[in-house]
Amino acid sequence: EIHIKEPIEKEVHPRLLPGELLLCEASTVYKYIQEDGSNRGTYGKLVCTNFKIAFLDDDSASDDNEPQFKNKIVGENDITLQCVDQIYGVYDEKKKLLTGQLRKYPEKLIIYCKDLRVFNFCLRYTKEEEVKRIVSGIVHHSQTPKLLKRLFLFSYASAAPNNTGGRNQTVMFDTLEDWRDELERTKGNVKYKVVTTNEGYRVSEKLPLYIVVPICVSEESILKYEGRGIPIWCWSCHNGAALLKMSAFPKEQDDSTSQMQKAFLDGIYKTISKPPYELLKTDDLSSSLPSLQDIQTAYTRFKQLFLIDNSTDFWATDVKWFSLLESTNWLEIIRRVLKKAIEVAECLERQHTNVVLIEDNAADLCCVISSLVQVMMDSYSRTKSGFQSLIQKEWVVGGHGFLDRCNHLHKSEKEEAPVFLLLLNCVWQLVQQYPPAFEFTETYLTVLSDSLYVPIFSTFFFNSQHQKDTNTSGESLKTQSGPFRFLTVWDWSVQFDPKAQAFLNNPLYAEKPKPDKSQRKTARFKHQRQLSLPLTPTKSSTKKGFFREETDHLIKNILGKRIGKFINSSDEPPNSFREFYDSWHSKPVDYHGLLLPRIDGPEIKVWAQRYLRWIPEAQLHGGGTIATAAKILDLMEEVQSLQVKMDEEHSQAVSGDLHSVPLLRNSARLSSLFPFALLQRQSIKPALPTSTWKDLEDEDDLVKRDDEFVDLSSDM
């Protein structure tokens, strides 16, 4: 049972952002530290505003040490309303999902967050009135449908001072110039042009104001079907081959309409398959990749592995970790997406073929694949500003429906699908496989994924450029200040101070030495002879294979498959993919050239930083990659300061005092969950509680006890 210490009545006030309003609050709420089954925790106040749910620790004042990495907008005990995934109430030890109206009020509240935090609040000591108000308030504001204009984004934008810094290097793609520059950068301007046909959204509200199309495509044809059936340029490869995307025509019942559409498409294909255009290859992503529904299902199952109530649950699932992981299918989806991106890269790079990605609205999987291909092929996309520009181009301006896909307004569950998260997961695989090739770190990707749920940035809170434009100017006449000035997520100084921002940059990023030495040559395998070995691709039961005489198995699998692989047998298309993949991987990596992810079985991994960061059982004190990263940062600092000193010595610019010895970073043992663990109370749980022994010492205390054994298992 819980020991109630008389809570010290102390006024704690929530820190409110401009435009943030306190909606309801409850005091004497007990927040459990979730890490163990014990009822440890703290008392405090639970508040709900139009921006967040926040828990205010009663003795937060005693929190002396400021964490090294801290989000200035969303604190450790803050949950933005959009970040709430599900809320459960506990009634008599039974968990029940809370959605709309409530008749009974729970004694415990469990909040699962989209960034995978889990909060447990006990309301048993709270006044009944307050319980009612806070629970229904939280459920109402975070779980029920909402109007776009009620998003905190708007209150913040009208109340916050207009402090748009400007000097951001990210290309926003909201002007004609941005598109022209991009065409020029990729040398796509010979065959493609920016058109202004969609000004005033005459063509389609889903398309951006400016689109890039092949030069030979006429304005009429763009207007004809609201931009459907028009190949829209994404990016040009160094050899001139281009990556395009296209919205498919909806399935037509009417025969004549579909005939016309077909004729239209044929005409389009014809014009852009002629020289100077390269050969054309189309890829209908809606049939060659998992559906959005599949993706949503897989992710829902996957995240369940990490939303853990207590450590008992954790250890219960731990035994079957790998098979559980596999059964979610999430990693398999990542693999398929990466594979598709490699296939596209192969067409562009080696076959010099244009590739048109086709999808219903060309704004979901098209965005994933085209972004991935660019990250793999264009080293500019692996810099921070390049990656951000890419997200602007393909996703934000490109018309990905963030609002619907994240279900920010709780309009419809059906539309929800973690498409953008899928991209980040795929990019993470690349970052993790080739760290020196990226200017940003996995922490960058993690905080980017968290920013999906922070409604002070406009970036992820509109479905299209059109929606943003109409809502920026529209009703804002009422407010005196003219159009809203929204913040962009790319201004990282809003969320992090410079010290914390350092964790977003990769100190070991291998900067590009020369601008032109960019692409590697991919030589073909030369094999003179064809060996007639069995080529059976065995997916036979592996379990039996272990005990059978291995020989058969070996010959089929290794010699057959592998020798077969090296032989130039061009009987089926997948082989050209495989050959491309193998040949690339048999050479040393050029971090500024083409980068292909490894996608074989064991290579696709769980993005541990994002998914395991709140699970204390997975924490290592003084361990994890951060242990080396911290060392590297120290070394970097040292090297840089020495370089400065060298320069000074060299130029004989004697300037009285030398640069001070670089500040050593806090050399305390960081936890593997850093930078996220420090947000939580730091704790250490030894394998066997040391307290056992303290008690063994206290003889007097224990003489009267007659328990037969010490049970430590509950904690293990």
Binding site: T317, E326, L531, I558, S586, G601, A627, V703
Partner: protein, 680 residues
Amino acid sequence: MNGAAGAAFAGLPGELVLEEAAGARQRCGDGDGDGDGSVPGTLLCTNRRLAFLPAQAPRSRAFLHSEYDVALPCIRKLVAASSFAKPKVLTAASTLKFIPEELAVFCRDFRLLRFHFQENGLAPQAFRVANAIAQAREAAAWLGDSGEGHGGWSCPAEGPLEDEEEEDEEEEEEGSAATLLFESLRDWEKELERLGAAGWRVSAVNERFDMAPSLPRYLWVPSGLLDHDLKRTFAHFEERRVPRLCWHHPGGGDLLRAAGFHAASEPGSEDVRCLEALLLGGRGPCVLADAAELPTLADIQLAHLKLRALCLPGAAAEEKWLSALEGTRWLEHVRTCLRKAAEVASLLAGRRCSVLLQEPSDRDLNCLLASLVQLLGDPHARTLPGFQSLVQREWVAAGHPFPHRLGLLRRDSPREEAPVFLLFLDCTWQLVRQFPAAFGFTEAYLLALHDSSFAPCFSTFLFSCQRQRGHGSPHRPRSQTYRQVSGWRDPEAGAPGAGRAARGLPPVWAWGLRYSPQQRARFRNPAGAAGAAGPPDTADPQSLGRPADAWPGPGAGNVFVLAKGTLSPQPFPWRSGRPPPRLARWAPSLESLGERGGSPGGSRPPASPPGLLLPCAAGPSVRLWRRCYLRGLPEAQRGRFAPSPAGLAEELTLLQDRLSAWQARGPRTEPAGSPLAPSR
């Protein structure tokens, strides 16, 4: 003695080239291969190994080139393929009847080497070399315990090594910290001193191996126990392997290991006194940690076989790979070992007590557990020389039957094969991966050790115990330390003939024999703890419990058993069936502890003692050692060694050197004052 390639091929003394085929190509070598991913060269079969001499390679100084060599016993399977016949597995009994175009060598260390023969008139050679390998492999099986079956291996240190030592020498900085082999009294004394284990002494009671044949010559036993009394205890343990000290925690805890109590022994009262003096010795309570929860030898072997099968290309569909991995249970075993070691290590760190690791034979999982606990608790064991000394003490000297467990023997008894040592290396790798900044060595080093365990040209893994190793030379009074990498050294080499009669094979720690300086440079972790050579962190009084005298004297003598994370009182088998009366009140319920710690807004839990690593054994944190196990996959052959911060560290040194050069010349002399400067 060599054939045509003899000029380029630096063989071992007594090594004969049986067959060779020039113009072969090795596929997917690790070098910067040409476009087609193969390296041309000559394939040799000797009576020792299969060797490949790359045609253009600069004359390699390492006489056993690690990348292109396979020792014959390390070959697990040999398959020949041709376009005109079915691929065939070659054994001594079933020889080749066609001319092979490709030869695939499956190694026990998870490598897969593939040799390709070109057509231009070399066919007969290809045929002959393939058959020769199959025959030689059979003939080369190590005879093992008979002890005499050396097959003519003799000391390579005398031969081709001489000329290369000079060059290697200056590169080795860390030479001061030598690896202790634990063959001499001095090594045992030195290490005991480092541990600061007051109350323990080195006993030479087993100097002639007459007390316990499989135990080392010297044992660490309580100072208060005379050899005369110690002798009474041997009979009461399996294989006469008595409890002895492995490690002493600076906070007072002791780690001991022993075999199981002898089932039939019924110690008299005098014996009981000696036994209890040995086990308890007034040092506080004793916790027995047995190997019951750990995997059995059969489990380990089965899991390893399954893992090996899974790691072959195409063994499991990609989307089923993870559950297949789970099905091997290898990682489960790794996790169990890590968890158990963490329990023991935190017991030792948390309170002054002794933990006795008890395994029926004391020769397998005790080795693993004892070493793991020390890796977790002792920063010295995490340095490179410290780790080598650890392996030397807890495995080699302690009598782990390497030849049996690694399956290096002729098929005498396949049941005894169980790669316990490889399991230990995997556990160590997990620790290195989880705590990259805590170790002085790298994954590359572990990989080298993994591979070398199959190479029969090192003395380290060829014997089952010290007695066997020293067979024929009962006394070796010299302190035989091995100085890292610079080759096998005898400090008293001046005395002619003193030790030459003994086994002349170098220990595996002579890395210079198989690995180039560049490769060895990757053994050391620049980001790792800079060789904390002293005793482990001195006890922090707050976290390490009270000093020794706080333990109630008369209460000492408690015995607990650690099982399933639970401590329960347990009598020694020679005591009466009931627990001693005092014990009951020493065992509090833990439920109360939860409450106590759980006071709302409670104080922070205790910080972890410095120097103690507590690994995470949860599913997501224990990984597959892919650079080791997936080497057979062509996809995985690239980038075997991860990019390391070594380059950065080098740049730093360079800059510092230049800066000091500048400063030396310039008028102002400002100390660089960098706390990070590598202490060279």
